[in-house]
Amino acid sequence: MKSSAMRDMMAVTARPEVISLAGGLPDTSTFPPETFAAVASRIAAESCAKALQYGPTDGLGETKDCIAEVMAAEGMPLDREDAIVTTGGQQVIDLVAKTLIDPGDVVIAEGPTYPGAVPVFLAYQADVVQVEMDSAGMRVDLLEETLERLDREGRRPKFIYTVPTFQNPAGVTMSLSRRRRLVEIAHERELLVLEDNPYGLLRYEGDELPPLYKLDGGVFVMYLGTFSKILSPGIRLGWVAAPPPVLEKINLGKQGTDLCTSTLSQLMVQAYFERGNWRDYVDSLTDIYRKRRDTMLDALAEHFPPQAEWTRPGGGLFIWATLPDFIDTTDLLARALRENVAFVPGEGAFLDGRGRNSMRLNFSSSDEESIREGIRRIGEVVSEQVELYGTLTGKVAPSVPSAEVVQMPTPAERARRANS
């Protein structure tokens, strides 16, 4: 959970002189203004009245056809009646939580989880149980242990929330075998899974892996998609594909929330997709982000001390770095801000006080020079703290032996830190 200290500090990261590796923003600066103008004038000429009008709660059929195109690109067939168009992917998390969670219900999430999901789960008073990850995503063996334990306590989770591909914030991807096992578990236990997949098409290397929704066939998996990372977050358009009974409830919930998703935004997407080259723009973004990821990985290798480690994402927007456990990244952020650089402290991705020696670094929204300089500055303050700790204890902190694990603190470390 974000502490008030962290919230206060994040307010300073927005200042222009700060190199912010804290955001989660895609780069919208390369979207062609001519395309925007052409799309907008076409709507003005052909569907002005419609664009200005309410639409159906579940979204326009033609928008769903665009959604079907995007899902087909990741190997998933979709009928119009299987999806609801939403106001961004974030609304899906909110609507699923609103529909399914009663106060005190258990929701299972990854540890670390998407920081933006945390306030949603808290608002609906869910009891969030976080399952650790390693470089192959959520530890499904630990998930099963957790489900067994909850079973013994007579508690049944309402759903499992996961970002299996290029996870936010950890940057790791769930392996195929774990995906298969997770879907099996859902079937065996008749458990719903919310698969959040905003980054699947932003792949910089390696082979595509099937989304959980594809493996499951839409029986227990609810699928969250969004146009935010492949077109524009400002257009606020996402969707949910889910089993019919769940979809019906979500539809009712959405009626209460906002009646319908912006018709103007939906028509923009339709007109844009009719041009037939939406994949080209995604490819151009992928090229830009791949270079930025490589720049950040190189800078980390150059500037972070040997006591730090980090993940190597094959796509998406984030790298998760973990420092020695005597460094608290919320305090470190205060120091980093004096050097005009910012990141997200790891505690924001946990609800139980874990993650205090980790940080999320975003590489999509800064140019390569800023990334290099930002990482250099963070590396410098980290090294300074490692050295100071060495001076205080008379010991040199050991280097990290391998980068195999998404460095979660061990239980012993956790207990020690809980007492400090």
């Binding site: 008030s4 200290a5 500090m9 305090d331 204890t393 008379g394």
Partner: protein
């Protein structure tokens, strides 16, 4: 000197401080109040163009609603002195003395005002003078638990609680994230009190009561709902008067002006100790100074109006020395 006269008031807020967010909330609330009092309000989010903005706006008075670095440390006050613009609250000297916890504690000890035992170090002491060697001796002198805090950070940022020697290095690393000077202080177990001063008069005592059963959780002090505030605090016979008296003495000793908040602890044996003074305490909906003022029937608008009047009375920076300062204790 009268609220009848409309003034052009520049409200300085935000800035680069880590308490930027609280400052923006204080500032917004002050702006509303000044507007209701009939003044012309010009909000300024303090940045590189501050001097230019002040020259353009030419305010009659500057209302400083900044917390932490720059606003509370005397820097902005210094600039306003140079520009000859009257401003609210304490002068440069009061700000410098109050926000440097080490200096404030030395002054308190010299004046016989009780404050918890402490040691202070800057980073070079560890890096260049091998002060780590002396940590064991410090541990003996203060006894655990020890509170470790940055010397000049307001609010609870960077304050750590070391229960044993093993906790100390990480706590020091954290505190040095905020400041190059840190204080190691004996922990006082007791009740958390705050006395606000307005125009040389102490307001009723506020007690902060952490919710839940945590042994002691600094975070709790600042999380809404995790702390409840009682005003006036229900204290043992005579303690309220003693707390108010101590707070006023600290306010005068440090040379504060117009308003300030002094934080104290009341331990099990009834002893009071002063932790620190804040020259620009929060002015948000949940802040302690407005709560204390409200307890004696001073509305927020009246409070803001009074602070504004005091900005123009010219008597700032060198408060009369505390007559009891050198005699007591």
């Amino acid at each position: 000197m009268t609220t009848d006269a409309a003034r052009r008031v520049a409200v300085l807020k935000g800035g680069r401080s880590l308490e930027r967010q609280v400052s923006l909330r204080s500032g917004a609330r002050v702006e509303d109040a000044l507007g209701r009092l009939g003044h012309e309000v010009v909000p300024i989010d303090v940045g590189l163009d501050l001097i230019q903005q002040l020259r353009d706006v030419r305010p009659d008075v500057a209302f400083i609603a900044m917390h932490g670095r720059d606003g509370e440390h005397g820097t902005v006050q210094e600039l306003l002195e140079i520009l000859d613009i009257p401003y609210t609250g304490s002068g440069v000297l009061g700000c410098v003395r109050a926000t440097d916890k080490v200096l404030a504690k030395h002054l308190m000890i010299e004046a016989g005002i009780p404050t918890p035992d402490f040691f202070a170090f800057n980073e070079t002491a560890f890096r260049e003078l091998g002060a780590a060697e002396a940590l064991a001796a410090i541990e003996e002198r203060l006894e655990f638990p020890i509170v470790v805090k940055p010397s000049s950070q307001g609010s609870a940022l960077g304050i750590k609680f070391a229960r044993s020697a093993a906790d100390l290095p990480a706590a020091l690393v954290a505190a040095f994230s905020y400041d190059s000077k840190v204080v190691l202080e004996r922990h006082v177990d007791g009740r958390d009190l705050a006395v606000s001063i307005l125009a040389d008069e102490p307001l009723p005592v506020v007690e902060a009561v952490p919710q839940g059963d945590e042994f002691y959780d600094f975070q709790a002090r600042y999380e809404i709902g995790r702390t409840s505030f009682i005003c006036p605090a229900e204290l043992p016979e005579g303690a309220t008067e003693r707390a108010q008296d101590l707070a006023l003495r600290v306010y005068r000793l440090l040379g504060c002006h117009a308003f300030a908040r002094v934080d104290l602890m009341l331990d099990g044996s009834g002893e009071l100790t002063v932790l620190e003074a804040n020259p620009i305490p929060g002015l948000t909906e949940t802040s302690l100074l407005p709560q204390a003022a409200e307890a004696v029937g001073i509305t927020f608008d009246q409070l803001v109006g009074r602070i504004l009047e005091l900005a123009e009375d010219g008597n700032r920076g060198l408060a009369p020395p505390d007559p009891r300062g050198t005699l007591a204790g």
